[in-house]
């Protein structure tokens, strides 16, 4: 199975695999041209180190022996020699890089983090080091740090190489769920679905993201795994184009777990992009199970706005904003809906409030365009529409 090597990597059973995989991590930085640049940088760093080594035969000897031990897979010796070499020359970047890599492979995660910290202080743009530090932090339970590093490294190209992409995105997706950023997590899982990766790990993670459970897969009690795996399977089926299979799995889930939170919300979320009316039905079902689910109220208000059911969206959005005054989704739903139902001034205020914190929010600009248009503010409407066309591209 394609995902198996990743899991091996994740579980750190095989140093060779990890190291070879890490070479992919390096190569992923920003495409192969960048890789050449990065390796060249490393080489130059190494050469500068070697230049220094002419003045320090002891360092040169240690560096050569460390590389030889690494090549011979004598990991404990290599770690020891790289550590000694770094004590002699703490600005030797290549040394920190290999030391961190080897320690990561040996499950010495705190030490690996320390090595990558040194490297990143010397070379803040060393994206592979940042990605590896993120993976180490995940293993030590420093989840917030791990999320920051993985997100940043992926943003800078660490996931451009297919094998690295899956390792990094899988960890990132788990952390996004834990952080309550479900939409972002689902975006990550969609990449696995596009590649037809349907391992249980991905399905479980997708199920957690869809049903908005802020836990890591390893934290899920055994008794609940079936529910989230099935939810993930339904989501996978839907997102891979088999909506009929998805519908049957969801129907079965609704029958088997009639009070499980966020199952209808997940199905509604999947339907939302294709058919807002079907999505609304699911969100309303969710609210019959959990009337106090503010997120469900918010997404219902938003979807009603999208469906042009403005009069219904107003009270829903007001209900949400009474509990969460800054919730963007509800601000947009209420702003547009008020603009369409006779209170354009208040509607514009709310939409402009969204744009203050999120200037490129497409729906807020669309709402303003509609309000200006209804009011006959032709030039303002045209300007907003052109902004939207640019954003939509």
């Amino acid at each position: 199975m394609f995902f198996a090597p990743i899991l091996q990597f994740v579980t750190k059973r095989d140093l060779i695999l990890k190291r070879s995989t890490f070479e992919h991590v390096i190569s992923s930085m920003a495409g192969r041209n960048c890789l050449k640049g990065f390796l060249l940088t490393f080489l130059m760093v190494g050469m500068s180190g070697l230049h220094a080594q002419e003045a320090s035969p002891q360092f040169a000897d240690l560096a050569a022996r460390a590389a030889a031990a690494r090549d011979q897979q004598n990991i404990p010796l290599a770690i020891e020699l790289y550590t000694q070499a770094e004590q002699l020359k703490p600005d030797w970047r290549e040394g920190w890089f290999y030391l961190g890599l080897l320690q990561y492979g040996a499950n010495q995660f705190p030490a690996a983090i320390d090595a990558f910290n040194h490297l990143l202080q010397l070379e803040p743009s060393a994206v592979p080091a940042m990605a590896l530090r993120g993976l180490c932090e995940f293993e030590t339970g420093a989840y917030d740090d791990s999320l920051r590093d993985l997100e940043q490294s992926i943003a800078h190209g660490a996931a451009n190489e297919p094998r690295n992409e899956q390792i990094l995105r899988y960890h990132l997706a788990q952390l996004l769920v834990r952080a309550g950023r479900f939409q972002d997590a689902l975006t990550q899982y969609k990449i696995f679905i596009e590649k037809q990766v349907d391992s249980p790990d991905v399905l479980l993670g997708l199920g957690l993201a869809g049903t908005r459970v802020r836990l890591l897969p390893k934290e899920i009690p055994e008794t609940d795994r079936g529910l989230y795996l099935a939810a993930g399977s339904a989501g996978y089926a839907f997102l891979s184009g088999n909506s009929e299979l998805a519908a049957s799995i969801f129907t079965e889930l609704f029958a088997r777990y009639p009070t499980a939170p966020n199952l209808h919300l997940f199905y509604g979320y999947l339907l939302f992009q294709h058919d807002s009316e079907l999505a609304i039905n699911q969100f309303q079902s969710e609210l019959t199970i959990a009337p106090g689910n503010i997120e469900a109220h918010a997404i219902l208000a938003y979807t009603e706005m999208i469906a042009g059911r403005y009069a219904e969206a107003v009270p829903e959005a007001e209900h949400v904003l009474a509990a969460m005054p800054d919730m963007e989704m509800a601000l947009i739903a209420l702003g547009r809906s008020l603009g369409e139902t006779g209170d354009p001034k208040h509607g514009m205020e709310l939409l402009n409030r969204v744009l203050q914190s999120d200037p490129d929010n497409l729906e807020a600009h669309m709402g303003l365009a509609a309000i200006y248009s209804h009011a006959g503010r032709r030039e303002d409407a045209y300007r907003e529409r052109m902004v939207c066309l640019g954003l939509a591209k």
Binding site: E277, M366, A370, Y372
Partner: protein, 365 residues
């Protein structure tokens, strides 16, 4: 003339005058669209089923020829298929034939070794046609369509990127449930109830009820002389709302933007294109869909007939901000709303993004 005065008249004449007066009074009370309701007379003088056309004769008659009325055609008496009983085309390794005989049309795809034949049950479109096919309980959009300009078959718009791997994939693109709902809801009447497809009940094309929600109730009540339950008036909507209303099927600006659609393939979504125009203003009735098009009539293909619509703003006589064309006052749309060929060819659409088109300029958006 007083109704009471008319009581002294001969009974037959009196009956006519009384009915006319009552109908006129109802019409005034209803403030209804330009036709005189004559249901009160007709229901007593006729045993045939009451329809919208029973009262609204003029508009119902003209609407019977309108494109929306023929958004879906019955396979039995389809003029395009009747006049082209043997259509065929080779597309890659697959050979398609559409044959019509004795009022029945079939769609066949063959790979040279095996073939698959299905009856054509639903014809989408009056001129260019795409067929929805049913196999094993699933609905498929035919992978080839009929194009009148070519008098032949070619790939269905939007399906150019599909590479079929077997006969079923070559036959058509399997439709997702929401696509099916959307397609039938815009091409037929009573095809969808709630979130369910009700294909057994559908009537091809769009009946009055499809736009004039409440028409059925209005008709039922009118049979009992109750004219208070009127369908929602569409006349009071501003241009922005009309655009969105028409855009429910012809695709609204919001829908196109939300789906991130751009490029010439989407020139066919007129409300979106119109709202991209600099001159579009949501509260100006001179630029609404209805300013130029009467949905109850066939589209007017005479470019010059639209000049007065443009000159309603772009004229020296009008005190407005609109600029006046220095080139011509005739055939405005031929320059300012050019025809755009859909990718893949076979058909073109008028671009409703009204603009000054510069020579060699790329299609905007």
């Amino acid at each position: 003339m007083s109704v009471w005065f008319a009581l002294a008249w001969p009974s037959s004449l009196r009956r006519i005058v009384v009915r006319f007066s009552v109908a006129a009074l109802i019409w005034l009370l209803c403030d209804f669209a330009g036709v005189l309701p004559t249901l009160a007379q007709s229901k007593k003088s006729s045993t045939s089923a009451v329809t919208c056309g029973t009262c609204h004769v003029g508009v119902a008659t003209s609407y019977s020829h309108a494109p929306m009325r023929h958004a879906m055609e019955s396979p039995g008496a389809n003029p395009a298929l009747e006049t082209h009983p043997n259509l065929s085309v080779q597309m890659g390794q697959y050979f398609y034939t559409v044959q019509t005989k004795d009022g029945k049309s079939t769609y066949t795809v063959s790979d040279g070794r095996n073939s698959l034949t299905l009856p054509i049950r639903w014809i989408f479109g009056q001129h260019s046609q795409t067929w929805v096919l049913e196999k094993d309980g699933h609905l498929y959009e035919s992978l080839v369509s009929y194009f009148p300009r070519d008098n032949g078959l070619a790939t269905t718009p939007g399906d150019q990127k599909i590479t079929p791997h077997n006969l079923i994939e070559a036959m058509g693109r399997r439709l997702q449930p929401w696509e099916t709902r959307s397609c039938f809801n815009c091409h037929a009447t009573d095809a969808v109830a709630g979130d369910q497809l009700t294909l057994d009940h559908l009537r091809p094309g769009l009946d009055c009820e499809r736009c004039h929600v409440g028409a059925q109730q209005h008709m039922a009540d009118a049979e009992n002389d109750n004219f208070k339950t009127l369908p929602k008036s569409l006349k009071r909507m501003d241009s922005e709302s009309i655009s969105n209303f028409c855009g429910e099927c012809h695709r609204s600006w919001d829908a196109v933007i939300r789906n991130h659609w751009h490029g010439p393939a989407f020139v066919r979504f007129q409300p979106y294109r119109l709202q991209n125009s600099k001159c579009f203003s949501g509260n100006d009735p001179r630029i609404s869909c209805l300013a130029c098009h009467n949905p109850h009539q066939p589209a007017n293909r005479n470019n010059a007939s639209y000049d007065s619509k443009c000159l309603a703003c772009h004229s020296e006589a009008k005190a407005s901000h609109a600029r006046v064309c220095t080139v011509s006052k005739n055939n405005c749309v031929s320059c300012h709303m050019p025809k755009v060929e859909l990718p893949g060819g076979h058909t073109s659409f008028t671009d409703h993004q009204i603009r000054v088109v510069k020579p060699g300029e790329a299609y905007p958006n």
